[in-house]
């Protein structure tokens, strides 16, 4: 039954490459998160306040992002845009797909956050002479970001996990690199086990750091 010989040496030898690739994973996840937060804020404000085509646009984006698989979204930015003559590099395919997805999910979280802030705060800020832009960026958004801090860390973890789909569009982040080495050496199980461990450690580290940050950020 157990006639399989495990070979861990090639994995150990390419461990530096895998760790380097996991930095690429983190990089694309962080970038997509930043873009996602900015777009998500706009989408949630549009969905709450706008009328007509703008509200329709925000609703479409949010529902599409939430009701189709992330892999489908990546394929859209890969093959779909390719058909229109827009050829993105694998990095930008993953970045665009993740940002689209993050923006949709975060917009729903932000909407809850905006609803939790009393309407009077905006009015007070406006009557103090702040412009609408200032009222949002200095008064409302900082509070919303606090309220949705934990959902946001969850979404960041999801972004790290979702970036593994980059493997299917030829992006060399942790999963892509793993698959590259696995198909070079035929040590599929060993390589993917190593990748799983690295992902697990990464996720735990992120959660730990976010907890540390939370104790610093929410002292008051």
């Amino acid at each position: 039954m157990f006639d399989y010989n495990f070979h861990w040496r090639p994995v150990l030898k390419s461990l530096p490459d895998l760790l380097e690739a996991s930095l690429v994973t983190l990089q694309v996840a962080v970038l997509s998160m930043i873009i996602g937060i900015v777009i998500g804020l706009f989408l949630s404000v549009l969905k709450l306040k706008a009328r007509g085509p703008l509200k329709w646009f925000a609703t479409c984006w949010i529902e599409l992002a939430r009701n189709t698989p992330a892999l489908f979204q990546l394929f859209f930015f890969g093959f779909g845009l390719g058909a229109l003559g827009i050829h993105l590099t694998p990095f930008f395919i993953v970045l665009a797909g993740l940002s689209f997805n993050n923006a949709g999910y975060l917009a729903e979280n932000f909407r809850g956050g905006f609803n939790a802030i009393p309407e009077t705060q905006l009015k007070a800020a406006r009557s103090l002479g702040m412009t609408l832009w200032h009222a949002y960026t200095r008064i409302l958004v900082p509070q919303v970001l606090r309220i949705v801090y934990y959902p946001m860390t969850n979404q960041f973890v999801w972004a790290v996990l979702m970036s593994s789909l980059g493997m299917l569009v030829g992006f060399r982040e942790l999963s892509g690199e793993t698959q590259f080495f696995a198909s070079k050496t035929y040590r599929i199980f060993e390589y993917f086990a190593a990748a799983a461990i690295i992902y697990y450690i990464m996720v735990k580290l992120i959660l730990f750091i976010s907890k540390l940050l939370a104790t610093r950020l929410f002292r008051y």
Binding site: F72, F76, G80, A195
Partner: protein, 220 residues
């Protein structure tokens, strides 16, 4: 050049049926794994809530792994691990096993929260009315808990429905794989990816709307 041979044929009605069949396979693998996974997850969730140290030390971290390693890595890992320990599973079966465990891990967390949401006074009241532990669980905790966790359970189920797209990596011809096959043949990626997206949207959107309206009705 009358008898010119084309290697590509255009997208026809047959292909829509092909994709509908693939959508059925997506639905099949997700419905089976969600139903089994929910039952197992319910039991795990109860164990996490009731089990003192054993469950939190043993079960918790194991379920945690399924939530902190990308599904695609889990699938490839298990697909290559099963033959090592002597199980010859095809793509559907290994996909089913992993999706079921993944669902169970997510549902367990939701269920634990659901049981915890039924307050201690309520349960003491049930016990002092003469109900035994199981009656308390069946007639008090279950009806209240189900209402509390229903929206997040639907969220998990929709997530699994969308994540079932990843089983395509193992070669199971579900919706996304089918659209990839058609893309290769017809060379019309944008149209096909749009059709695939429409299928996913049609599966997922009604359920999420239904759950949202249910939630609104129950919260009144």
């Amino acid at each position: 050049m009358e008898n010119q041979i084309s290697f590509f044929s255009s997208f026809g009605l047959n292909d829509v049926f092909f994709m509908a069949e693939a959508a059925y396979r997506t639905l099949l693998i997700s419905v089976v794994s969600i139903s089994i996974g929910t039952v197992i997850g319910g039991i795990f969730g109860w164990m996490l809530f009731e089990g003192r140290i054993s469950a939190t030390i043993l079960l918790g971290p194991i379920l945690d792994v399924f939530r902190s390693v990308p599904l695609i890595i889990q699938l490839v890992l298990f697909y290559n691990f099963a033959p090592i320990i002597g199980f010859d599973l095809d793509a559907f079966e290994s996909g089913l096993v992993i999706l079921t465990l993944y669902t169970a891990a997510l549902v367990a967390n939701v269920v634990r929260g659901g049981i915890a949401s039924v307050g201690e006074p309520m349960r003491r009241a049930a016990r002092s009315l003469g109900m035994n532990y199981w009656q308390d669980l069946r007639y008090v905790v279950f009806p209240i808990g189900v209402r509390a966790i229903f929206p997040s359970w639907v969220g998990v189920a929709l997530g699994v429905l969308k994540d079932s797209a990843l089983v395509s990596v193992l070669g199971y011809v579900e919706l996304l794989r089918a659209s990839q096959i058609l893309m290769t043949r017809t060379q019309e990626p944008l149209l096909i990816i749009a059709v695939a997206g429409a299928f996913y949207f049609a599966l997922s959107y009604p359920i999420s709307r239904f759950s949202a309206s249910f939630e609104r009705k129950w919260s009144q």
